[in-house]
Amino acid sequence: MSAWSYYISTLAVYFGVDVLSGISLNLQYGYAGVVNLAYIIFQSVGAYVAAATALGPDTGAGAFQHYIFAASLPFPIPLLLATVAGGALAGVVGLFSLRRMRRDYQGAIMLIVSLIALQVVTADVPLFNGSNGLTGVPRPLSFLPVGPLAYQWVYAGWVFVFCAAVYLLVQWLSRSPWGRALKAMRDQEEAASAIGLNITVLRLQVFVVGGLIAGLSGGLLVEYIGAWSPGAWGYAETFVIFTAIFVGGLGNYRGVVLGVLLVPVVFLQVTQFLPQIGYPGLMDSLEWVVIGLLFMVCLLVRPRGILPERKPIALEGSSLQFAAPGLLHQLRRRLRSL
């Protein structure tokens, strides 16, 4: 029983982290049309920074791993630094890669950036310990007087708190005039510029906001699993999240949650329970094939996803209403009724 509880709580943590990733990518691509195929590197920089700033000095007797930013900072500073690192790296990458160019070229550049980053971190051992990565990251909530299994659930709850906060914040931003400006940029860049919107600044802003969320998700994940290495952040990981937001529904944050539940959690976990066929590793490889197929089937059958973007309804004399009220609106209404 405890094994199942451990398994499900682990899934819950991964689900929460993936929801954060989905929200970030949905803001960037679903709302702003920025194809961030390098998403995983912003998550990874968060993970590495959170790990390095919590692990303590990497020198002295017994030091078996090497990394920069070595420090032993108290909770929750490593997580804050992870968030900032994600945003800062996004700012730097965005500055040179988000100039006015076609969306497919942008996607290609991001993919290349992702591959280069992976090679650099793997080859440059003093940076984050090369291909071995960092291990032994201390548990951030270890001060709590709970057992190992209860800790699992407490940590899942901790991740969900961040998910809820980021969900509400990003949904609010997306429905603001800034969010509308992002959608205008997504739909017709030239026309958006012709109504006075600075496309470069908007792109950079949405890239940094997404980077902050990615850094946070990386920090939360590494503090849970305690280790991070290049094997954890291949560029293909980004495609899983992209598939999730396409399946769930671009431009709809509920769709993101549903997509993440269906693709990286249910869909990929079900395959773990299937009998092994062929040579060892064949099932793992087939997973990627099936993810690609799922993506294509979704584009063919339901291109706007299971829960498409909501249409805001304008009624004269009242503010814009969304076809179904957002979570923030519902929460506010319930609080008022208490």
Binding site: P177, K183, D187, I195, G196, N198, K311, A314, E316, S319
Partner: protein, 278 residues
């Protein structure tokens, strides 16, 4: 730093939608001027030294055969094309090196040859996005001043309804851009421009795709915009529309101005007839 309560980009009192703000240079001075403008794509010269002046409340038609360089010239005025030579003056200010979004902020609005509605946004959202103004849509303003922005947002919404009423378009307020007909898309583009209270409105073939029964309506609307003090430049192949709306007509061929004057003067011009008929 963002202002707490940014003013709308457009101020539309009592239904006088799209009234241009008074030009600082006065009614007699051109609000937009092109001086010896040259646009080239690689080695191909599309516009070879065009000059043009348009005053507030004046409508200038720009006609010419296909490939004459009309759209390239319009794009150079609006900032989508970079001029290889020459100057663009907007309200007396040299904007030649400014990108399109900065020219838009100075009061220049345009429609495109291919309709450019925001396809996955409703008509109402299209108008709100244009009407929010630069400060209103700024991330810092949204985050730091979201409470004080409410009055501004409501004002922009009120203006959007005023524009929709003016064009009898309230029935398309909640339709996505992709759900609109060709004529309705043109209308959305024009309404979107008006939300910015432009001084200059550049229209690139505004009647393409518009149903015949709507053309007369749009012509009447364009004339009333001109009467409101907006300077109009209209590139259009439907010559009856140009005749109806324009105070003056310029004719381009092979990137150059070949004739200028009233509609009657230019259509009887030998060079114009040669350019059209070959």
């Amino acid at each position: 730093m963002a202002t707490a309560n940014p003013r709308a980009a457009v101020d539309i009192p009592h239904g006088a939608v799209g009234r241009a703000e008074a030009s600082t240079t006065g009614a007699g001075q051109p609000v937009i001027a092109a001086q010896d403008l040259v646009v080239s794509y690689g080695g191909v010269v599309a516009v070879a030294g065009m000059s043009l002046e348009v005053r507030p409340g004046e409508a200038v038609g720009l006609i010419g055969p296909n490939g004459a360089g009309k759209s390239s010239f319009l794009a150079a005025l609006a900032g989508q094309n970079r001029a290889a030579r020459g100057r663009v003056l907007l309200d007396g200010k040299d904007v030649t090196r400014l990108p399109s979004y900065q020219r838009a902020r100075l009061g220049l609005a345009r429609t495109f040859q291919m309709t450019s509605e925001f396809a996955n946004m409703t008509t109402f959202e299209n108008l709100l996005t244009a009407g929010m103004g630069v400060q209103g849509a700024a991330l810092s303003n949204v985050v730091l001043h979201h409470r004080s922005n409410r009055a501004h947002n409501r004002e922009v919404e009120r203006q959007a309804w005023a524009v929709l009423h003016r064009f009898d378009a309230t029935h398309i307020a909640n339709l996505y851009g992709r759900e609109l007909s060709g004529g309705q898309r043109r209308l959305v583009e024009i309404m979107r421009c008006l939300m910015r209270s432009p001084k200059v409105l550049l229209l690139d073939e505004p009647m393409v795709g518009v149903a015949p029964h709507l053309v007369a309506r749009l012509v009447s609307d364009l004339k009333s915009l001109r009467d409101d003090g907006i300077a109009l430049v209209i590139v259009e192949h439907a010559l009856e529309v140009v005749k109806e709306v324009s105070d003056r007509v310029n004719v381009m061929a092979l990137g150059r101005l070949i004739a200028s004057g009233t509609y009657e003067e230019v259509v009887s011009n030998d060079a114009v007839q040669a350019a059209y008929l070959g």
